[in-house]
């Protein structure tokens, strides 16, 4: 493989097994400079293993990898100086304060990002002098990102940056990633939250059981699926009307949802049944599938 000068990250047929378990089974990635790319998948799909191979924390069993033109398995300082890593569970000396911890890591790099700038990006200005052991979970996670930014990286790895966050903390984290994107950094993030990928990523790769099952912009992924969701409300004793309708499920409160890849035929069938029974499909709606629906389709197809 040519050293991917035009790409920040490139992999071909990436493989990794833990004993008999194949965690990554031939993943191909091509991520451009300045791109925000989300690896999406259920727990245990191989996201973290893939990212840790790219970070240099794991050795691959097979395939080609290029990160900023380097083989990360060699852990060359020349590469480590240009990347920033946010692990799933990184620790930091709990008795230092926020500014001291970031400053400590800044000293490892030849061209660190200014301290004040980092603190502002991650939104820890008020906690600047606070001991790390006294930070909340969300603040600690932002400190993790701050430390990863210490060397002013061209490429940032974010492994599940918002897992366990409350909704407000997630919004703040999202704003932070958007700030990073505008500064030109390439970001590879993993997540199992659909909305996170949809909000942040230029492109999304869906990984299930160690293999990529779909890839594209969030819009592409939605367009690639003909899926639609038909929803309506039925009177309590009319649910037999749906006998034999594939994909129908009650969503509570007398509401029903039917997922379909051919909405026209489904509507024809449903309205016919309703007319025959003399009942009304109240609040009838036909909606395009969300990215979440597409994702659920992809992950259930792949693992069934």
């Amino acid at each position: 493989m040519s050293p991917g000068n035009d790409l920040a990250i490139q992999t071909q047929s990436l493989r990794k097994a833990y004993g008999a378990v194949e965690a990554v089974r031939g993943v191909d990635l091509a991520i451009g400079h300045g791109e925000v790319y989300a690896l999406l998948g259920p727990n245990g799909a191989g996201k973290t293993t893939t990212v840790e191979i790219l970070e240099g924390h794991r050795e691959r069993d097979g395939g080609e990898v290029s990160v900023l033109g380097h083989d990360p398995a060699r852990r060359e300082p020349a590469l480590l100086r240009r990347i920033g890593i946010v692990l799933q569970t990184p620790g930091v000396e709990p008795y230092l304060n926020v500014a001291e911890a970031i400053e400590q890591y800044r000293g490892f790099y030849p061209h660190p990002r200014p301290l004040d700038e980092i603190i502002e990006i991650v939104g820890l200005t008020e906690q600047r002098g606070q001991r790390i052991r006294k930070l909340s979970g969300g603040q600690q996670r932002r400190l993790d990102v701050a430390i990863a930014l210490a060397g002013d990286p061209e490429l940032l790895f974010l492994d599940e940056p918002t897992t366990g966050f409350d909704p407000a903390a997630r919004r703040q984290a999202w704003d932070m990633v958007r700030n990073l994107r505008s500064s030109g950094a390439t970001v590879l993030l993993t997540t199992h939250y659909m909305d996170e990928a949809e909000h942040l990523a230029d492109r999304v790769g869906v990984i299930v059981d160690g293999a990529m099952v779909a890839e594209g912009t969030p819009e592409d992924l939605m367009a690639s699926s003909p899926a639609a969701v038909v929803s309506f409300r039925l009177p309590p004793d009319h649910s037999h009307l749906l006998d034999g309708v594939e994909g129908a499920r009650a969503s509570g409160d007398g509401r029903y949802e039917v997922r379909t890849e051919s909405p026209t035929a489904l509507l024809h069938d449903l309205t016919g049944r309703a007319l025959e029974a003399g009942s009304e499909l109240a609040e009838l709606r036909v909606e395009r599938a969300t990215l979440e629906d597409v994702y659920l389709d992809l992950t259930s197809e792949a693992s069934s």
Partner: protein
Amino acid sequence: MTGARLLARQMRYEFLAFRRNPAAAFFTFFFPLIFLVVFNLIFGNDTISIPGGDTNTSTFYIPAIAAFSVINACYTGLAMSISFARDQGQLKRVAGTPLPKGAYLGAKVLFMTIIGIVLVAVVTAFGWVFYSVDVPTGTLPAFLLTLAVGAAAFAMLGLAMTAFIPNAEAAPAVVNAVILPLLFISDVFIPLRDNAPVWLGLVGDVFPVKHLSLALQAAFNPFEDGSGLRLGHLAVMAAWGAGGAVVALLRFRWEPKR
């Protein structure tokens, strides 16, 4: 930045973190003093015979407490603090940065070595002020050199030990299970009497604890005419230290066990 400057910089942060945890810092320094005070309360400070003449028992306690202090800081303390840092993910995070690994670990080793030597200085000064400890001057270089060799050797063994500690919760048990029996059979606090089995003495001879203890005793003996240096003991410690360094190089883990 050069490796030496990075190492010095890391040591500053080690010191800062140590200073910020006053309870831990206080008891680290308090611990050896407790030994000296308790020994005096239990056994008194009578005159005893040591090779070359008579002195008070506190002068005899100091090298034993010094050996214990160095082992406690460099072996026990280092192995535990690295196990905790590893479980928290600190080591893995550092491994993903361009900081040379030698600078990171070297700072921890040097910091603990300094702590160990400062502990010895504190307990010696305390004994000199309160218990009339006879501090030898002629053998002081030998005493300091023995402390340095012992600190380095036990720090390497502490690093090697972390490879066999599965997680932070197990660290105190694993570390103490190895060192406590050795302290008891190595003439540190209890001299082995003639009625102890011979093999027990031989086991003590093999491991480095007894050699540190005996070398410090010789270098803290006020009646010592020569330099007080016991090169044989230092050589055994150095060999153990080198072995520990090899194991650490081959087996050291930067990540918690999955």
